[in-house]
């Protein structure tokens, strides 16, 4: 079992066993990340494949003061976002009341499994889904999202609000079905 340092050094030296170890360690999380940005499973696998090839090509640029997992995650997300069409982010006016959370008990979310939540998130329109993932899951700011996607910050906020409202509706539907 290789340590993370050995994996990094081995990858920098182009050793196949270190590359595979890195893939096995971070591949499952990265596939899950890519699934949230891809349209379907096959595309997510393609993103992971391209992403890891980039990771191995640019591993020399990795500075060890940062976390390897975070660095790889960033590459995966950037790679996935390259395939997102800008038309997915049509500018919409903001001003939607931020009151959509009042009817749902937080416990409802907690009861859902990760796969169920992922399924609901993936059902969102592309623009909503991307912004929601970047903001709510990855922790990007609206400014970072705007720069990354080359859209306005207001568009990012708008997409997030609509994503949340749509997710909330989906949760309510689920709640009704469960009752």
């Amino acid at each position: 079992m290789l340590t993370e340092k050995e994996i990094i050094d081995g990858c920098k030296a182009g050793k196949s066993n270190a590359q595979k170890a890195l893939f096995l360690k971070y591949g499952p999380i990265m596939l899950s990340v890519c699934r949230r940005y891809a349209r379907h499973q096959m595309e997510a696998e393609d993103f992971v494949q391209d992403g890891f090839i980039k990771v191995f090509r640019h591993i020399d640029k990795f500075k060890e003061e940062s976390k390897l997992g975070t660095w790889i995650r960033r590459i995966m997300i950037n790679n996935a976002l390259k395939h997102v069409s800008k038309s997915a982010f049509k500018r919409e006016s903001i001003g939607i009341a931020d009151n959509y959370d009042q009817d749902i008990d937080a416990g409802t979310y907690a009861k859902l499994s990760a796969e169920e939540i992922m399924k609901l998130v993936n059902e969102l329109p592309t623009g909503y889904k991307i912004v929601f993932n970047l903001y709510a899951i990855e922790g990007y700011s609206h400014k970072e999202i705007a720069e990354q996607l080359e859209i306005g910050e207001s568009t990012s906020r708008s997409q997030l609000l609509k994503a949340r409202r749509m997710l909330q509706e989906k949760f309510i539907e689920l709640q009704k079905i469960a009752v």
């Binding site: 096995l24 699934r35 949230r36 090839i53 990760a114 997710l167």
Partner: protein
Amino acid sequence: MKEMDKILRSKLYNHESALPDDLWSKIETGIEKKKKKGFIWFLFGGIGLLGILSATIYFSGFMDSDQMSNVPLTLSPVYVVEQSIPAEPQQVEKLGIIDKEEKELSIPIIDGTKKIRKDLVHQQISKPSIPEIKKVLISAQENEQHKILVEREENLKIDIPKITVSLPALINNNERSFGDPVGCPTFSKRNRANLFIEAYYQPLFAYSQLSSNSPEVGEQYLKLRKDSESNLYSWSTGINVGWISDYNVGVKAGAEYEVINERFTYEDPAAIRNQTVITIDTIFNGDGTFDLTSDTSVVQISGAEIQKIHNYHRTLSIPIHALYQMNFNNLAVELSGGPIFNIYYKNRGKIVDPSNQAQWFTNGESGSYNVYKDRLSVGFSLSVSALYSINEHIQLFARPTFKYTPGTMSVSSSPFNQTYMNTGLSLGARYYFSGNPNY
């Protein structure tokens, strides 16, 4: 809101999905491809750099001498020119020739030879003009005792750390001279410009590159294509007519016929084969006679079937190439490259489609899978030839060649893009109509 984000984040941020079994092998393949691509660009770059370097050295040495006459060069002290004006031959004294070689000089070059022992130098040409040099040489030819000697004096390296030399080379109607600082035969002038014709045969390796042209087509389909298609012996043959100038650069054009052969192997797990069954019955009658009755039926047999199909892609193209030749006595090295224009393309065979069904793709046949174009786009070829002169007209050559057609050979509605990258070794002969200039 914040609560919802927190909960969702805690569930999704570190969520893991099961990895498909073949994902790592795809990544490994991708890494190898990148390495190969890097190597190819390195090869291209190397050949290009070599060409540029050769051309630069060649043309820098081949500048018109008159244009160089006012260009001072600072060289290490190798040549010292001394002219003796005869009557008293003993006055011409050797300064100690390193290579024991004494040469008549066709290009007087001298300037700044002040530190040569003056008692040995009877006349120096300092910053000579071309008419002066011609005059000196003509008089030298008329009188055998008038010689210009080039002597290499090692001691001069101590006496004269630097000699500034100008190169006012002679312009002669019959012979062009140019500076050849290293004395390399590569840059020697050809005897004359020449027309030639050449023919060759080339075994080649054709590497097929596939990429997706549709969101529905992923790596899995591309892998299936690659797994089901394998290389067979491929080849090309061609003929070129060319012209090479006395500057060793030239051009050639001709026709090239290329055949890329592949084996398509596919296992159809649900194949159905129709088999005709003829049943003959004998009916015995009460009177002791009998009748024969026959019945023909078609029976469908299902099972796995392995298909092996010979696929081919045949092209006829016109290459138009620039070339540059470097001569080494009977040997020559030639760099050539340029576009290739396809004028005919014919194919036949089977491939799998995105639904994993084997389909005939033969161009022009009704019902075939229409995925390939009728004509290919412009390709590019680069080659390095080694030529050997066997007599006054003929050279034999071996020529490693690299060819790439960047445009896809598949139609825009095809779910995939396909290109070929060929490497091969051409073997052939070249005939010079006016005589082999290197022989």
